[in-house]
Protein backbone atom coordinates (compact mmCIF):
# COMPACT_ATOMS: atom_id res chain seq x y z
CA UNK A 1 0.00 0.00 0.00
CA UNK A 2 2.76 2.38 1.08
CA UNK A 3 4.63 1.50 -2.12
CA UNK A 4 1.51 2.32 -4.07
CA UNK A 5 1.13 5.78 -2.61
CA UNK A 6 4.78 6.57 -3.45
CA UNK A 7 4.13 5.76 -7.10
CA UNK A 8 0.88 7.72 -7.12
CA UNK A 9 2.53 10.78 -5.61
CA UNK A 10 5.22 10.65 -8.27
CA UNK A 11 2.67 10.17 -11.02
CA UNK A 12 0.65 13.17 -9.82
CA UNK A 13 3.75 15.38 -9.61
CA UNK A 14 4.75 14.44 -13.15
CA UNK A 15 1.19 15.10 -14.38
CA UNK A 16 1.07 18.48 -12.63
CA UNK A 17 4.38 19.35 -14.24
CA UNK A 18 2.74 18.69 -17.57
CA UNK A 19 -0.04 21.15 -16.70
CA UNK A 20 -2.72 19.09 -14.98
CA UNK A 21 -4.32 20.79 -11.96
CA UNK A 22 -3.91 19.44 -8.43
CA UNK A 23 -7.66 18.91 -8.15
CA UNK A 24 -7.81 16.93 -11.39
CA UNK A 25 -4.98 14.69 -10.17
CA UNK A 26 -6.68 14.06 -6.84
CA UNK A 27 -9.98 13.32 -8.58
CA UNK A 28 -8.28 10.36 -10.28
CA UNK A 29 -7.36 8.81 -6.93
CA UNK A 30 -10.16 9.76 -4.48
CA UNK A 31 -9.25 6.98 -2.05
CA UNK A 32 -5.78 8.54 -1.56
CA UNK A 33 -6.77 12.18 -1.90
CA UNK A 34 -6.43 12.99 1.82
CA UNK A 35 -2.90 11.65 1.94
CA UNK A 36 -1.78 13.04 -1.41
CA UNK A 37 -3.27 16.54 -1.23
CA UNK A 38 -0.91 18.12 1.38
CA UNK A 39 2.17 16.56 -0.21
CA UNK A 40 1.19 17.75 -3.68
CA UNK A 41 0.48 21.26 -2.38
CA UNK A 42 3.94 21.34 -0.82
CA UNK A 43 5.54 20.04 -4.02
CA UNK A 44 3.72 22.77 -5.92
CA UNK A 45 4.94 25.42 -3.46
CA UNK A 46 8.55 24.28 -3.81
CA UNK A 47 8.26 24.10 -7.58
CA UNK A 48 6.91 27.67 -7.68
CA UNK A 49 9.87 29.08 -5.74
CA UNK A 50 11.98 31.46 -7.80
CA UNK A 51 15.29 29.89 -8.78
CA UNK A 52 18.24 31.42 -6.95
CA UNK A 53 19.80 33.85 -9.39
CA UNK A 54 23.50 33.54 -10.07
CA UNK A 55 25.13 36.97 -10.01
CA UNK A 56 27.01 38.07 -13.13
CA UNK A 57 30.09 38.90 -11.01
CA UNK A 58 30.15 35.34 -9.69
CA UNK A 59 29.83 33.90 -13.19
CA UNK A 60 32.65 36.17 -14.34
CA UNK A 61 34.85 35.22 -11.39
CA UNK A 62 34.41 31.54 -12.21
CA UNK A 63 35.29 32.20 -15.82
CA UNK A 64 38.41 34.01 -14.72
CA UNK A 65 39.38 31.09 -12.48
CA UNK A 66 38.89 28.73 -15.41
CA UNK A 67 40.86 30.99 -17.70
CA UNK A 68 43.72 31.20 -15.22
CA UNK A 69 43.83 27.43 -14.76
CA UNK A 70 43.75 26.78 -18.47
CA UNK A 71 46.27 29.49 -19.20
CA UNK A 72 48.71 28.04 -16.70
CA UNK A 73 48.25 24.47 -17.87
CA UNK A 74 48.82 25.46 -21.48
CA UNK A 75 52.06 27.32 -20.81
CA UNK A 76 55.41 25.64 -21.10
CA UNK A 77 57.58 25.04 -18.07
CA UNK A 78 59.94 27.85 -19.00
CA UNK A 79 57.11 30.25 -19.34
CA UNK A 80 55.80 29.13 -15.98
CA UNK A 81 59.11 29.84 -14.30
CA UNK A 82 59.17 33.27 -15.93
CA UNK A 83 55.61 33.87 -14.84
CA UNK A 84 56.59 33.10 -11.24
CA UNK A 85 59.44 35.58 -11.40
CA UNK A 86 57.14 38.22 -12.83
CA UNK A 87 54.49 37.48 -10.24
CA UNK A 88 57.07 37.93 -7.50
CA UNK A 89 58.24 41.16 -9.09
CA UNK A 90 54.71 42.45 -9.28
CA UNK A 91 53.97 41.52 -5.66
CA UNK A 92 57.14 43.24 -4.52
CA UNK A 93 56.34 46.38 -6.51
CA UNK A 94 52.77 46.45 -5.32
CA UNK A 95 53.88 46.05 -1.71
CA UNK A 96 56.47 48.81 -2.03
CA UNK A 97 54.11 51.28 -3.65
CA UNK A 98 51.34 50.50 -1.20
CA UNK A 99 53.79 51.08 1.65
CA UNK A 100 54.77 54.47 0.20
CA UNK A 101 51.15 55.44 -0.25
CA UNK A 102 50.36 54.43 3.32
CA UNK A 103 53.23 56.64 4.50
CA UNK A 104 52.02 59.50 2.33
CA UNK A 105 48.50 59.25 3.66
CA UNK A 106 49.48 59.24 7.31
CA UNK A 107 49.24 55.52 7.91
CA UNK A 108 45.59 55.31 6.96
CA UNK A 109 44.48 52.17 5.21
CA UNK A 110 44.08 52.65 1.50
CA UNK A 111 40.40 52.15 1.15
CA UNK A 112 39.14 50.30 -1.84
CA UNK A 113 35.71 51.65 -0.95
CA UNK A 114 36.66 55.30 -1.38
CA UNK A 115 34.85 57.39 -3.97
CA UNK A 116 35.69 60.70 -5.72
CA UNK A 117 35.90 63.43 -3.09
CA UNK A 118 37.37 61.12 -0.43
CA UNK A 119 40.90 61.87 0.68
CA UNK A 120 41.98 58.32 -0.20
CA UNK A 121 40.48 58.24 -3.66
CA UNK A 122 43.66 59.45 -5.46
CA UNK A 123 45.54 56.68 -3.66
CA UNK A 124 43.03 54.15 -4.91
CA UNK A 125 43.53 55.31 -8.51
CA UNK A 126 47.31 55.37 -8.09
CA UNK A 127 47.26 51.82 -6.76
CA UNK A 128 45.19 50.71 -9.74
CA UNK A 129 47.72 52.26 -12.11
CA UNK A 130 50.64 50.57 -10.37
CA UNK A 131 48.96 47.19 -10.36
CA UNK A 132 48.16 47.59 -14.05
CA UNK A 133 51.72 48.65 -14.85
CA UNK A 134 53.03 45.45 -13.31
CA UNK A 135 50.64 43.18 -15.15
CA UNK A 136 52.52 41.30 -17.83
CA UNK A 137 50.08 39.56 -20.07
CA UNK A 138 46.87 40.31 -21.92
CA UNK A 139 44.90 37.98 -19.66
CA UNK A 140 45.79 39.98 -16.56
CA UNK A 141 45.33 43.31 -18.31
CA UNK A 142 41.86 42.32 -19.49
CA UNK A 143 40.91 41.21 -16.01
CA UNK A 144 42.18 44.44 -14.48
CA UNK A 145 40.43 46.65 -17.03
CA UNK A 146 37.14 44.89 -16.38
CA UNK A 147 37.68 45.20 -12.64
CA UNK A 148 38.42 48.94 -12.97
CA UNK A 149 35.32 49.37 -15.12
CA UNK A 150 33.29 47.63 -12.42
CA UNK A 151 34.88 49.87 -9.75
CA UNK A 152 33.87 53.03 -11.65
CA UNK A 153 30.32 51.71 -11.94
CA UNK A 154 30.22 50.99 -8.21
CA UNK A 155 31.50 54.48 -7.41
CA UNK A 156 29.03 56.10 -9.80
CA UNK A 157 26.10 54.20 -8.27
CA UNK A 158 27.26 55.06 -4.74
CA UNK A 159 27.48 58.77 -5.56
CA UNK A 160 24.11 58.64 -7.27
CA UNK A 161 22.53 56.99 -4.23
CA UNK A 162 24.11 59.51 -1.87
CA UNK A 163 23.49 62.73 -3.76
CA UNK A 164 21.15 61.94 -6.66
CA UNK A 165 23.69 63.34 -9.12
CA UNK A 166 25.17 61.53 -12.07
CA UNK A 167 28.98 61.65 -12.19
CA UNK A 168 29.62 61.84 -15.93
CA UNK A 169 33.37 61.42 -15.51
CA UNK A 170 32.88 58.11 -13.75
CA UNK A 171 30.37 57.02 -16.35
CA UNK A 172 32.84 57.82 -19.11
CA UNK A 173 35.66 56.05 -17.25
CA UNK A 174 33.47 52.98 -16.78
CA UNK A 175 32.85 52.77 -20.53
CA UNK A 176 36.46 53.62 -21.40
CA UNK A 177 37.86 50.90 -19.14
CA UNK A 178 35.51 48.35 -20.73
CA UNK A 179 36.65 49.54 -24.16
CA UNK A 180 40.29 49.08 -23.13
CA UNK A 181 39.43 45.58 -21.91
CA UNK A 182 38.16 44.87 -25.43
CA UNK A 183 41.41 46.10 -26.92
CA UNK A 184 43.48 43.84 -24.65
CA UNK A 185 41.03 41.02 -25.37
CA UNK A 186 42.16 41.29 -28.98
CA UNK A 187 45.46 39.70 -27.95
CA UNK A 188 43.83 36.63 -26.45
CA UNK A 189 43.34 33.44 -28.38
CA UNK A 190 41.78 30.03 -28.02
CA UNK A 191 39.85 29.31 -24.86
CA UNK A 192 41.07 32.53 -23.26
CA UNK A 193 39.37 34.53 -26.00
CA UNK A 194 36.10 32.68 -25.62
CA UNK A 195 36.13 33.06 -21.87
CA UNK A 196 36.78 36.75 -22.29
CA UNK A 197 33.85 37.11 -24.67
CA UNK A 198 31.45 35.57 -22.16
CA UNK A 199 32.91 37.54 -19.31
CA UNK A 200 32.78 40.82 -21.19
CA UNK A 201 29.16 40.20 -22.10
CA UNK A 202 28.26 39.58 -18.47
CA UNK A 203 30.05 42.74 -17.35
CA UNK A 204 28.40 44.75 -20.12
CA UNK A 205 24.93 43.38 -19.34
CA UNK A 206 25.43 44.24 -15.69
CA UNK A 207 26.47 47.81 -16.56
CA UNK A 208 23.47 48.21 -18.83
CA UNK A 209 21.10 46.91 -16.17
CA UNK A 210 22.57 49.28 -13.55
CA UNK A 211 22.21 52.23 -15.94
CA UNK A 212 18.60 51.31 -16.60
CA UNK A 213 17.95 51.43 -12.84
CA UNK A 214 19.67 54.81 -12.58
CA UNK A 215 17.67 56.10 -15.54
CA UNK A 216 14.41 55.82 -13.58
CA UNK A 217 15.58 58.33 -10.96
CA UNK A 218 17.88 60.57 -12.96
CA UNK A 219 16.91 64.26 -13.51
CA UNK A 220 15.49 64.95 -17.02
CA UNK A 221 18.59 66.98 -17.92
CA UNK A 222 20.77 63.84 -17.51
CA UNK A 223 18.48 61.47 -19.39
CA UNK A 224 20.23 61.95 -22.71
CA UNK A 225 23.61 61.03 -21.21
CA UNK A 226 22.28 57.90 -19.56
CA UNK A 227 20.44 56.88 -22.72
CA UNK A 228 23.61 57.32 -24.74
CA UNK A 229 25.56 55.15 -22.30
CA UNK A 230 22.86 52.46 -22.41
CA UNK A 231 23.03 52.59 -26.20
CA UNK A 232 26.81 52.10 -26.05
CA UNK A 233 26.38 49.03 -23.83
CA UNK A 234 23.67 47.66 -26.15
CA UNK A 235 25.88 48.19 -29.22
CA UNK A 236 28.78 46.47 -27.54
CA UNK A 237 26.62 43.51 -26.56
CA UNK A 238 25.21 43.17 -30.06
CA UNK A 239 28.65 43.49 -31.58
CA UNK A 240 30.12 40.90 -29.25
CA UNK A 241 27.21 38.52 -29.80
CA UNK A 242 27.72 38.83 -33.52
CA UNK A 243 31.40 38.01 -33.13
CA UNK A 244 30.58 35.02 -30.96
CA UNK A 245 28.02 33.72 -33.45
CA UNK A 246 30.56 34.04 -36.21
CA UNK A 247 32.89 31.97 -34.04
CA UNK A 248 35.55 34.63 -34.22
CA UNK A 249 37.64 35.94 -31.40
CA UNK A 250 37.71 39.49 -30.32
CA UNK A 251 39.72 41.44 -32.87
CA UNK A 252 39.07 45.07 -32.16
CA UNK A 253 37.45 46.87 -35.04
CA UNK A 254 36.14 50.34 -35.54
CA UNK A 255 32.65 48.98 -36.08
CA UNK A 256 32.09 48.56 -32.37
CA UNK A 257 32.07 52.04 -30.84
CA UNK A 258 30.77 54.28 -29.19
CA UNK A 259 31.09 57.00 -26.64
Amino acid sequence: MERNIEALLDLCIEEMKRGKSLEACLANYPEHADQLAPLLRLAQEIDNLPLPVALPEAMSATLFNLGTRFGVSERKKGALALSRVLQARRSWAFGAVSFLLILLFGGATISTKSIPGDILYPAKLATEKVVFFFSFNAEEKVELRLRFSYERLKEMVQIFEQSGTLDKELLKSMLDEAKLALEHGNQLSGLQASLFQVKFNHANAYQKESLEHIRIAVPPSELKTVDRAIEVCTNRMQWMMKRMKEGRHVPWTRGCDMW
Binding site: R3, I5, E6, A7, L9, D10, I13, E14, M16, K17, R18, G19, L22, P38, L39, L42, A43, Q44, E45, I46, D47, N48, L49, P50, L51, P52, V53, A54, L55, A58, M59, A61, T62, L63, N65, L66, R69, F70, G190, L191, A193, S194, L195, Q197, V198, M244, G247
Partner: protein, 190 residues
Protein backbone atom coordinates in the same frame (compact mmCIF):
# COMPACT_ATOMS: atom_id res chain seq x y z
CA UNK B 1 3.09 23.67 -11.36
CA UNK B 2 5.22 24.34 -14.39
CA UNK B 3 8.08 22.52 -16.01
CA UNK B 4 11.32 24.20 -15.06
CA UNK B 5 12.94 25.90 -17.99
CA UNK B 6 15.38 23.62 -19.80
CA UNK B 7 17.05 25.83 -22.39
CA UNK B 8 19.07 23.02 -23.92
CA UNK B 9 17.93 19.45 -24.42
CA UNK B 10 20.30 16.66 -23.45
CA UNK B 11 21.25 15.91 -27.06
CA UNK B 12 22.06 19.59 -27.62
CA UNK B 13 24.27 19.54 -24.52
CA UNK B 14 26.07 16.47 -25.86
CA UNK B 15 26.53 18.07 -29.26
CA UNK B 16 28.06 21.19 -27.68
CA UNK B 17 30.22 19.00 -25.50
CA UNK B 18 31.44 17.02 -28.49
CA UNK B 19 32.30 20.25 -30.29
CA UNK B 20 34.09 21.59 -27.23
CA UNK B 21 36.10 18.39 -26.86
CA UNK B 22 37.01 18.69 -30.55
CA UNK B 23 38.38 22.15 -29.91
CA UNK B 24 35.41 24.37 -30.76
CA UNK B 25 35.75 26.70 -27.83
CA UNK B 26 32.72 28.83 -28.61
CA UNK B 27 30.65 25.76 -27.74
CA UNK B 28 32.00 26.11 -24.22
CA UNK B 29 30.42 29.54 -23.76
CA UNK B 30 26.98 28.15 -24.60
CA UNK B 31 27.47 25.21 -22.27
CA UNK B 32 28.64 27.50 -19.51
CA UNK B 33 25.66 29.86 -19.83
CA UNK B 34 23.38 26.84 -19.71
CA UNK B 35 25.02 24.96 -16.88
CA UNK B 36 26.14 27.62 -14.44
CA UNK B 37 22.64 28.60 -13.19
CA UNK B 38 21.68 24.93 -12.80
CA UNK B 39 24.76 24.00 -10.82
CA UNK B 40 24.51 27.19 -8.78
CA UNK B 41 20.85 26.51 -7.86
CA UNK B 42 21.76 22.98 -6.78
CA UNK B 43 24.69 24.09 -4.61
CA UNK B 44 22.75 27.08 -3.25
CA UNK B 45 20.19 24.80 -1.63
CA UNK B 46 22.86 22.54 -0.17
CA UNK B 47 25.10 25.06 1.62
CA UNK B 48 24.71 27.84 4.15
CA UNK B 49 25.74 30.99 2.37
CA UNK B 50 25.67 32.61 -1.04
CA UNK B 51 29.46 33.00 -0.84
CA UNK B 52 29.93 29.26 -0.25
CA UNK B 53 27.51 28.53 -3.11
CA UNK B 54 29.49 30.75 -5.49
CA UNK B 55 32.87 29.31 -4.41
CA UNK B 56 31.70 25.72 -4.70
CA UNK B 57 30.07 26.33 -8.08
CA UNK B 58 33.37 27.72 -9.27
CA UNK B 59 35.15 24.59 -7.94
CA UNK B 60 32.65 22.35 -9.76
CA UNK B 61 33.48 23.94 -13.12
CA UNK B 62 37.23 23.77 -12.54
CA UNK B 63 36.91 20.10 -11.59
CA UNK B 64 34.66 19.43 -14.60
CA UNK B 65 37.06 21.01 -17.08
CA UNK B 66 40.04 19.23 -15.54
CA UNK B 67 38.33 15.85 -15.86
CA UNK B 68 36.44 16.44 -19.08
CA UNK B 69 38.34 13.72 -20.93
CA UNK B 70 37.01 11.13 -18.49
CA UNK B 71 33.37 12.19 -18.93
CA UNK B 72 31.03 9.52 -20.29
CA UNK B 73 27.26 9.10 -20.41
CA UNK B 74 24.84 11.79 -19.25
CA UNK B 75 26.65 15.09 -18.87
CA UNK B 76 24.08 16.48 -16.42
CA UNK B 77 24.42 13.40 -14.22
CA UNK B 78 28.19 13.74 -14.33
CA UNK B 79 28.31 17.42 -13.41
CA UNK B 80 25.74 17.02 -10.61
CA UNK B 81 27.83 14.15 -9.27
CA UNK B 82 30.83 16.49 -9.13
CA UNK B 83 28.66 19.14 -7.43
CA UNK B 84 27.39 16.61 -4.93
CA UNK B 85 30.94 15.47 -4.08
CA UNK B 86 32.11 19.07 -3.68
CA UNK B 87 29.24 19.75 -1.24
CA UNK B 88 30.14 16.63 0.77
CA UNK B 89 33.83 17.66 0.81
CA UNK B 90 32.83 21.14 1.90
CA UNK B 91 31.02 19.85 4.98
CA UNK B 92 33.65 17.24 5.71
CA UNK B 93 36.55 19.68 5.52
CA UNK B 94 35.01 22.44 7.51
CA UNK B 95 32.94 20.23 9.82
CA UNK B 96 30.14 22.72 9.25
CA UNK B 97 26.65 21.95 10.27
CA UNK B 98 24.03 23.09 7.82
CA UNK B 99 22.28 26.13 9.18
CA UNK B 100 20.94 27.89 6.16
CA UNK B 101 19.61 31.12 7.58
CA UNK B 102 21.69 33.29 5.36
CA UNK B 103 19.42 33.56 2.34
CA UNK B 104 20.07 36.89 0.72
CA UNK B 105 17.48 39.00 -1.05
CA UNK B 106 19.68 39.45 -4.08
CA UNK B 107 19.12 35.82 -4.97
CA UNK B 108 15.44 36.12 -5.59
CA UNK B 109 14.39 36.26 -9.17
CA UNK B 110 10.85 37.70 -9.13
CA UNK B 111 10.10 41.36 -9.71
CA UNK B 112 6.93 41.66 -7.70
CA UNK B 113 7.77 42.79 -4.17
CA UNK B 114 4.99 40.91 -2.33
CA UNK B 115 5.78 37.76 -4.24
CA UNK B 116 9.45 38.28 -3.45
CA UNK B 117 8.82 38.57 0.28
CA UNK B 118 6.39 35.67 0.34
CA UNK B 119 8.74 33.55 -1.72
CA UNK B 120 11.69 34.71 0.36
CA UNK B 121 10.16 33.58 3.67
CA UNK B 122 9.13 30.25 2.24
CA UNK B 123 12.52 29.83 0.59
CA UNK B 124 14.21 30.38 3.96
CA UNK B 125 11.94 27.91 5.69
CA UNK B 126 12.30 25.37 2.91
CA UNK B 127 16.07 25.69 2.88
CA UNK B 128 16.21 25.23 6.63
CA UNK B 129 13.84 22.26 6.58
CA UNK B 130 15.91 20.62 3.82
CA UNK B 131 18.82 20.27 6.23
CA UNK B 132 16.74 17.91 8.35
CA UNK B 133 16.45 15.43 5.48
CA UNK B 134 18.93 12.72 4.64
CA UNK B 135 21.52 13.44 1.97
CA UNK B 136 19.67 11.29 -0.60
CA UNK B 137 16.31 12.86 0.19
CA UNK B 138 17.79 16.35 -0.27
CA UNK B 139 19.21 15.36 -3.64
CA UNK B 140 15.92 13.95 -4.88
CA UNK B 141 13.89 17.00 -3.82
CA UNK B 142 16.35 19.48 -5.36
CA UNK B 143 16.77 17.56 -8.61
CA UNK B 144 13.04 16.93 -8.98
CA UNK B 145 11.39 20.13 -7.75
CA UNK B 146 14.13 22.75 -8.11
CA UNK B 147 16.01 21.52 -11.19
CA UNK B 148 12.99 19.94 -12.86
CA UNK B 149 14.38 16.50 -13.75
CA UNK B 150 12.10 13.50 -14.26
CA UNK B 151 12.15 10.56 -11.89
CA UNK B 152 13.84 8.19 -14.34
CA UNK B 153 16.52 10.83 -15.06
CA UNK B 154 17.19 11.23 -11.32
CA UNK B 155 17.33 7.46 -10.93
CA UNK B 156 20.03 7.33 -13.61
CA UNK B 157 21.91 10.25 -12.06
CA UNK B 158 21.94 8.77 -8.56
CA UNK B 159 22.39 5.20 -9.76
CA UNK B 160 19.21 4.04 -7.99
CA UNK B 161 15.96 2.42 -9.14
CA UNK B 162 12.89 4.49 -10.00
CA UNK B 163 11.11 2.86 -7.05
CA UNK B 164 13.88 3.94 -4.68
CA UNK B 165 13.64 7.54 -5.94
CA UNK B 166 9.86 7.51 -5.47
CA UNK B 167 10.26 6.21 -1.93
CA UNK B 168 12.85 8.88 -1.13
CA UNK B 169 10.60 11.55 -2.61
CA UNK B 170 7.59 10.40 -0.60
CA UNK B 171 9.51 10.29 2.67
CA UNK B 172 11.20 13.62 1.96
CA UNK B 173 7.95 15.43 1.22
CA UNK B 174 6.26 13.88 4.28
CA UNK B 175 9.12 15.03 6.54
CA UNK B 176 9.25 18.48 4.94
CA UNK B 177 5.52 18.85 5.42
CA UNK B 178 5.74 17.97 9.12
CA UNK B 179 8.63 20.38 9.64
CA UNK B 180 7.07 23.26 7.70
CA UNK B 181 3.65 22.77 9.34
CA UNK B 182 5.32 22.89 12.76
CA UNK B 183 7.11 26.09 11.77
CA UNK B 184 3.89 27.69 10.57
CA UNK B 185 2.11 26.57 13.77
CA UNK B 186 4.81 28.28 15.83
CA UNK B 187 4.37 31.46 13.82
CA UNK B 188 0.64 31.50 14.34
CA UNK B 189 1.08 31.14 18.13
CA UNK B 190 3.35 34.22 18.24
Amino acid sequence: MTIRKRELAEDEVHELLRKFKDGDITAFTKLYEHLYPKVYAYVYYRVNSVQDAEDLTSDVFIKAIENLREQKGSFDAWIFRIACNRVIDHYRRRSVRQNPLNVEDKNLGSEDFDAIMEGHFFQQEFKQALTQLTHDQQEVIILKLVEGYKTDEIAAMLDKSVEAIRALQFRALSTLRTLLDAKRGEKRKR
